[in-house]
Symmetry: D2
Subunit: 333 residues, 4 copies
């Protein structure tokens, strides 16, 4: 197991999560009427220091698309990065959930947006009925290339977004890694957001993410949309249990720190080869085909990233010795 | 726990399922590329004695709606019973998944359809562009009132359906209870179906149902639609593990038999009060408000069913002594 | 031409409409930026004695569905009569335009709704996420059977609708016939509506209906939805011209009176045979197959209405002598 | 009127069209059951020299989106040029009609696609469920910049498209202008297409375009979708009349030739300023703000095209003397 650097998506489940799930085994009310699910709002409100409403769903795709569909009407648009997960990796889920609403693609280094990049998409749009009008912006914290938005960067985006009366969504599939890297509060790492997809699956959960709404009205209607999308699980208590176990004792943060540390160790051995700053648990490594072959021959598994690079992903359960060994192997290329 | 007769939806998870999930903890490929997920087609093909393609999803709503959306174009219709789950209990999920396609409501005793009931909906529809044309029929095995279609009944429906070039979907949220009751093969209990939503959640699973397609082309496109609906879980191996554990050693059948037996014991004590034949794990009991109050005072939990009835649902984990006690309590009313 | 009683849908275009269309031939701004289209708001505001925003579209189906989609979210529902045009005759257009939102079918004499009939649908719906929640009610003025809602009836419906915080839509494909029959103001015939589909096509127009919004915000977003539905015609001035020509000199009202009068004459000759009160331009006539055959042998064209009835529809251009002749033919059966 | 070079969208209606519409005034069957509508298939089959099925609709947006929705499932994608009308000017109509299916944007000179440009979009798409798969390609004949695809260019695109098992749609809002310019047969100008949006509105019609399907099964289901989109007009005979009048005596071709000739005259006077080859009825003219001001001061109306250019559009009814005058004015800048 320890030599896999393919994806945090396939990591194992954290023992605290297993334990919490099993503790939830006694029958309780179905759907999200159980005691654990009813705790979520308060727990996330405490974490973010403000009133939140939080809903569990099984996947990040569902979290992102339900959040966005609460903000964007079917005839509207969402600005996101050209390489955002919602654009590239969700098989058109935003189009499905938002009933044909459009993704409007912006540019930006390391898959991060800036106010300028958003403006370059938004400003040329004429306010007439022939063009889709933007209603929201979605940023990814950390970005597809593992780079974190600083609170100041989010603040600048939030200012632009408010000025244009848009809503702000954060895809936080790796939000924990961002908070671990930034060393700030969760609230600062989600500054300005109306909704946050807070990921737990990649970080030690089994199949539970939280959609955290900072506007309760958005949550209210999303409860209907979640059911309508087939995402209201009968035994929701097992999803709530996962999330609560991750929040207890900051498991989410410890796990992210472990994954980040493993990536940092690899990155330290590969300085000249890094395509993006390594701020979370992903390393994009300039490598020739022969070099990648050499690494694989030593037992390391990872994905190619185009012709000239490899993507190496660590997870909460990456063994330190495996990361260290990979670091040495890279240094020795 | 044992006095709850509210819903099989909230039952606990079977030990074999827990064990299988934990055995799947080692990292494997994400999504449905893992070894367990790749076993599903073969396992269901063996079970049904013909080529099947099977996909896991977390909920029955997703199973039903993905199956139907493979059969029915957005401008088409699906005939179902007026009290079918897809019509009554899914918050409009069929409309979402089928992009506005219509449910066409038929009548029938105990929420079961007949060829005549289907024809009463289908035949008056003129073949012109002003009216939605039917493309599929969905039946529920067992029905919303816990009644099983006999193979002969399904065969008659299938004949009608084929004659009109419609597709046939079976909502099998409690398919195991049907097979247990009928004492027939799974194939006979799903006779004529193009797709079956095979339920495991109510029967000892945690959050995994199977969509079984008897036409592989339907499965092929559904794989895209499942991802697009946010139902392709990253750690799909835990869902596959649940299903396989239920199929191993006929756990699914044993669990259904246990639930059916508990319901039968209750039913035997309540003969004059039964609103529907008790063939699975649901008992609809004519009772006055005072009688229901009396039962609740003894610790039994269940839902009212309108003004004059109670719905009692048993599950795989209903303790026999609890069922026996309830039976006595009913007899003593 | 004069013996056709098939449908007002196929009637000819009124001379005043032709004249206005030709007068609009000089190039003007495209879409709805031309001088005529820009007159609509003011003209309908004057007609209804309150601020309105009005949009032209080519068909009643588009008018109904755009109006409803401004009121009902994709996860919501609309109560309408079981025989309403939106349910029966639009090939699922409401499902398309409202993205899967549901029609909830109510009963009622002569296809008219009452507060009680609406309540019978609405009140049993539990306020939980498993059931589609109603967001609007749609009534048809005049109903599918040509019967008009009196202002008092609308007022009672409006009271119920407001009490439940629902929106009210009126399908006025034959709204002119209602006003002509009721002898009241247009405002009284549309009492309580948030939006009215005001029909002109059946009443002397060629291809232009008005969606009249009594809430400007609904109109604002509908302008985007109209374009998105392909209903923003490039040469919108020809549609505006039709509507304005009908409003000028009360052509709309005169035409409706003529059609109503023709129907009344037929009805007077058929008293014992009338299935519904004849209040507009439709006569539903109890007749045997042999009787219908006899009428057709005399050159009258009309549709059968089931086994035992005929539907006879007059139009603005029905010649009085044709109506009189048909009346005699019916009396002579 | 003659000094307007804003848009062919707002041009007047050709006398032959008016005449045909008035000749259709006698009541006939509603919808598309009238004698004129029933002629369309045969007339287009004759024009294209092969079996076609043709449907009228009021707008190019509806024509494009209905055609595409017959080819592309909701989970699929359509490759088009980044500046295609369906991407830029239809307020998201493709997303609405195709239920969230995606437009995949390709590059190309003068808004024309090539096999290479299409391949650059299609080939990187992995055949897995995370990415939207392409199902169709849409090209615009003539392109947004008024440039025509030669038969050989279409043939190369068609070869690629067939090789990838995609469908081919042609947006022919100005198809007549293409045929007029190319001097080829309509079949050659639509080579390889499965469906063609054949525009008449910009070319002398009032509100009627034809969707020409070269595969009758696509037309069959589109008849339902047209109704469902509210585009089946009651008095369809007036739309059929427009189209037939344009086909009679090659009015469509003569009109396009007139518009092209006017544009050619303007282009001849502006050689060094042309941003794109002038092959149809659009001239994109490099001009300073001061130059545009000077032209406007002389009474010419047109749109700016960004900061440094003007778009001048001629129409069938542009008076030759107006075009000549504008040519002189440009030459004199």
């Amino acid at each position: 197991m320890a030599m896999k650097f393919l994806s945090d998506n396939a990591a194992s489940v954290h023992p605290a999560v297993w334990k919490a799930m099993m503790a939830a085994d006694a029958a309780d009310a179905p759907y999200d009427n159980d005691a654990l699910s009813r705790e979520l709002d308060a727990r996330f409100s405490a974490l973010f220091g403000r009133d939140c409403a939080a809903l569990w769903v099984a996947t990040g795709t569902a979290a992102n698309c339900l959040a966005l569909s609460a903000m964007v009407p079917p005839h509207g648009g969402t600005v996101c990065h050209r390489e955002a997960h919602i654009e590239v990796d969700e098989c058109g889920a935003p189009g499905f959930y938002m009933h044909g609403a459009k993704l409007m693609l912006a540019e930006g280094e390391s898959a991060k947006l800036t106010p300028e990049a958003i403006a370059a998409v938004v400003e040329p749009i004429r306010d007439d009925v022939h063009q889709v009008q933007p209603h929201a912006v979605s940023v990814t914290q950390v970005s597809e290339y593992g780079c974190a938005y600083r609170p100041g960067e989010l603040s600048a985006i939030a200012d632009y977004v408010r000025g244009r009366r848009l809503a702000l969504h954060i895809d936080g599939a790796r939000f924990a890694n961002a908070v671990a890297f930034l060393g700030c509060s969760p609230a600062e790492a989600a500054l300005g957001a109306d909704a946050l997809s807070f990921g737990f699956v990649k970080n030690g959960g089994m199949g539970a993410e939280a959609i955290v709404f900072f506007d309760p009205e958005l949550a209210r209607q999303t409860r209907y949309r979640r059911k309508r999308a087939g995402h209201l699980q009968s035994k929701g208590r097992y999803l709530a249990a996962q999330i609560l176990a991750m929040l207890d004792n900051d498991v989410w943060l410890d796990n992210a720190r472990a994954a980040n540390a493993a990536a940092a160790e690899i990155a330290a051995a590969a300085e000249g080869r890094l395509l993006h700053p390594v701020e979370a648990n992903e390393v994009f490594l300039k490598t020739s085909a022969a070099e990648r072959e050499a690494l694989r021959a030593q037992g390391y598994e990872f994905y190619d990233w185009g012709m000239d690079a490899a993507r190496l992903v660590t997870a909460w359960d990456t063994r330190p010795e495996a990361a260290a060994a990979l670091a040495r192997a890279i240094a020795g290329l």
